[in-house]
């Protein structure tokens, strides 16, 4: 009877579906506008002078410049990694400009001083920037306005290389929370930056992280003091606008003992024929009993239907559960970029600390994704959980690559990993590459993986009930990623569901 009730799923999708997939139109990128604002751009190329220029533009202290130069010298001796399952023409690092700043952002005193194009850009991005006066830095304006998301969200917006606005700062300051751009933190809170910057992702960590250390231009800095539960979502929006610029942002979040913070980053870029480079570093530090929840909705321009253009996204994200019973949770929704190379990881140093990684990675057109996580169990009774949902459509390649390791001292370490892949069409690929290293006999690691296809039978069933092909795909995919969607902050869940539908537009019909 059970046999009878199980529908037979077809192994091969018929020719018409394939044709439709082929005809898919990824040019419908919603965020592909370019903002025409005057900007201050560094000459192309990278050398010590450029590093000095960036440091000088940011009015950095000497120690910061030295830190950058050391990274730059190191970077010159390094090789680009080639182990990921992605292919792209060799990047000419001398053809990129390493600094671009909107000209009008130097401390606007009134709304009139802010470039209207910039404000229009925020509107198009749908950034919760109702409080545009506050954003523009108008003196005395408070951040009490409700955002379109219905809750309070403090925002730091990074435009090309510069953080242009940070909202709700006064409100946060009442709790002793620091939320500002990293450039500002270098100047205003050098003791914290010196103590923590590079302590999770060392300057020498990997090719892109080292490059970032030399030329990082901006990003967000968050400090949550002991015992404080951050009263609102903190959020950063990154946008690459200038042609031929790289964006190298640096984010540092420190949660002191018994504190909590939920942070969300969003990314968009205009449509361009050339590939743009994005190499960010994110470092998280959680002390005893602290919790950091970090969510990403990455929607960089993925390139057109022929694979032309798009962002190369080479990102190093790592969280250090430095304290006992600390917890770091990564949630990512990856829909954009031509190439994604990204492994948000957790170092489970404190005893009984916990790491989580929830991922939805959608590739369409000619996108290539090689993403996953690392869970390094160092402390006793540490636990981790990995739920990865990869959806491949069009001609894309979607790889999950993950490492779970247990140190000899990590007694009682436990991991649960689940990797599910969903294929739409038959010209795309899904791959799962799990690495497990256990040096402790008491460690228990579980791994489950599945690969499935949206079957013609599922499509027909949904359509028979009245859903169009696109509605059916969106419904099935949203069902497939449900476990991960539930991890996102409520305010962003609905938006993400829509984004998933948009990303898969044209993938079947």
């Amino acid at each position: 009877m059970a046999m009878l009730d199980t529908p037979t799923l077809k192994e091969n999708i018929d020719q018409e579906t394939v044709d439709k997939v082929r005809a898919l139109d990824v040019d419908k990128y919603k965020y592909g506008f370019e903002t025409l604002i005057e900007s201050d751009v560094a000459p192309k190329g990278l050398n010590e002078d450029i590093v000095r220029m960036i440091s000088a533009k940011k009015e950095e202290p000497e120690w910061m410049l030295e830190w950058r130069l050391e990274a730059f010298r190191r970077w010159q001796t390094m090789e680009e990694p080639s182990w990921a399952k992605v292919s792209y023409p060799k990047i000419d690092f001398q053809e990129i400009s390493y600094y671009a700043a909107p000209k009008t952002t130097a401390g606007p005193k009134s709304l009139a001083e802010v470039d209207p194009e910039l404000l229009a850009t925020y509107e198009k991005l749908g950034i919760p920037l109702k409080e545009q006066e506050i954003l523009a830095g108008v003196e005395g304006a408070t951040g009490e306005t409700a955002t379109p998301y219905g809750g309070n969200v403090a925002v730091d917006a990074v435009f090309d290389s510069v953080s242009v606005v940070t909202t709700f700062r006064e409100e946060l300051a009442k709790h002793g929370i620091i939320f500002c751009s990293i450039s500002e933190a270098v100047r205003e809170h050098p003791e914290l930056v010196k103590k923590y910057l590079g302590s999770v992702v060392p300057v020498t960590d990997n090719y892109y992280a080292t490059l970032n250390s030399a030329v990082f231009t901006d990003g967000s800095f968050v400090f949550i003091p002991k015992g404080v539960r951050c009263p609102m979502e903190l959020s950063t929006y990154f946008r690459i606008n200038e042609k031929n610029t790289g964006q190298f942002e640096r984010t540092l979040i420190i949660a002191e003992e018994e504190s909590y913070v939920s942070y969300l980053e969003g990314c968009t870029a205009p449509m361009r024929d050339e590939n743009q480079l994005h190499a960010a570093v994110v470092e998280l530090v959680a002390l005893d009993d602290a919790e950091i929840k970090y969510s990403t909705v990455q929607n960089w321009y993925p390139g057109d239907k022929n694979g032309k253009g798009g962002i190369y996204n080479f990102v190093t994200k790592r969280g250090d559960c430095r304290g006992h019973r600390s917890k770091i949770s990564w949630t990512q929704v990856e829909t954009g970029s031509a190439i994604t190379w990204k492994y948000p990881s957790c170092i489970l140093r404190g005893d009984e600390s916990r790491g989580e990684f929830y991922s939805i990675a959608i590739s369409n057109g000619h996108q290539q994704i090689d993403s996953g996580t690392k869970m390094r169990h160092l402390g006793k009774n540490t636990t981790s959980r990995i739920i990865s949902k990869g959806i491949a459509a069009g001609f894309s390649d979607n790889t999950y690559r993950g490492l779970v390791s247990a140190h000899a001292k990590a007694k009682g370490a436990r991991n649960f990993t689940q990797c599910d892949s969903l294929l739409i069409g038959d010209k795309c690929g899904a791959h799962t590459v799990p690495y497990i290293e256990s040096h402790n006999s008491s460690a228990v690691f579980e791994h489950e993986a599945t690969t499935s296809k949206i079957s013609d039978d599922q499509m027909f069933y949904c359509q028979q009930r009245g859903l169009s092909e696109e509605e059916a795909v969106a419904l099935i995919v949203n069902g497939f990623v449900r476990d991960v969607l539930q991890q996102l902050p409520m305010e962003f869940m609905v938006e993400t569901q829509k984004l998933i539908s948009i990303s898969l537009e044209g993938s079947v019909g």
Binding site: D5, S455, Y461, Q464, G466, L467, E471, G479, R482, D483
Partner: protein
């Protein structure tokens, strides 16, 4: 003369160079329930899929009219919005999508296609509660992903629930009795009978006569080798049960 809800005219269908339907003719006037009986492989299920517009079937001749309009060029979702419903023999699993979510998406998709306003949440809840209680479907079942881990009876009841909520003009039921025990069969049949109306037609496909004790048809058609070989009133089903299909197949030959 009133326009039939469904009219199938000399329908020929081929799958991978094999002729499956070889000239099917059917006329279902409003309010009538017709049964199609035939042995496995006679083309009954193919007929139901072709009516609903499944791909992979090549129509080599004939026509299908719904309310007097040809639907051959319509997509499955357009046919659904036009009022055609197929209760599947093997309802498909949709993991991660709560039955409730699916029901609402289906109702709204059809309303949208017809240019009607979306169903409000209170209205939807009331509709589901009413129909669900008649079919012994509780809210716990509606929260589960559609058809995932459903028993045979639950799947068939969920199909009839969808049929009630969507209020189609034409209900095509493909082997709705398969996998049902006597009690479940009674519940499903009651659901179907409660939907009989002068504005709706039903096509009941089965190879057992027992379903027709519960859903009593106005006309019975015997299907063999891709076409209707005999039609009659409900007594034909009993006769068929007694004599077996072979008797009718010989008539043709």
């Amino acid at each position: 003369m009133t326009t039939p809800i469904l009219e199938v005219r000399d329908l020929h269908v081929r799958v991978e160079d094999k002729d499956i339907l070889k000239g099917v003719n059917l006329v279902l006037p409003p309010g009538e329930v017709h049964a199609i009986m035939g042995r496995n492989g006679s083309g009954k299920s193919t007929l139901s899929y072709v009516l609903a517009g499944k791909e992979d079937y090549e129509i080599t001749g004939g026509d299908i009219l719904l309310d007097g309009e040809s639907i051959l060029e319509m997509e499955p979702d357009e046919r659904a919005a036009a009022g055609l419903f197929l209760a599947f023999q093997y309802p498909v699993e949709v993991p991660g999508v709560a039955t409730m979510t699916f029901l609402k998406a289906a109702i709204n998709a059809q309303r949208k296609a017809r240019g009607e306003a979306e169903v409000t949440t209170p209205e939807f809840m009331r509709l589901v509660k009413d129909a669900g209680s008649r079919l012994n479907i509780d809210s716990a079942m509606l929260k589960r992903p559609l058809n995932v881990g459903f028993s045979g009876g639950e799947k068939k009841r969920a199909e009839i629930l969808q049929m009630e909520l969507l209020q189609p003009k034409l209900c095509v039921m493909d082997e709705t009795d398969s996998g049902l025990d006597i009690d479940a069969l009674q519940v499903v049949a009651n659901g179907v009978n409660s939907m009989r109306s002068s504005e709706r037609s039903m096509l009941v496909i089965t190879h057992y006569q027992r379903l027709l004790n519960h859903i009593v048809p106005d006309v019975v058609h015997v299907f063999s080798d891709g076409k209707v070989v005999e039609s009659g009133d409900k007594s034909l089903a009993l006769e068929l049960e007694a004599k077996g299909y072979a008797a009718y197949e010989k008539d043709v030959a």
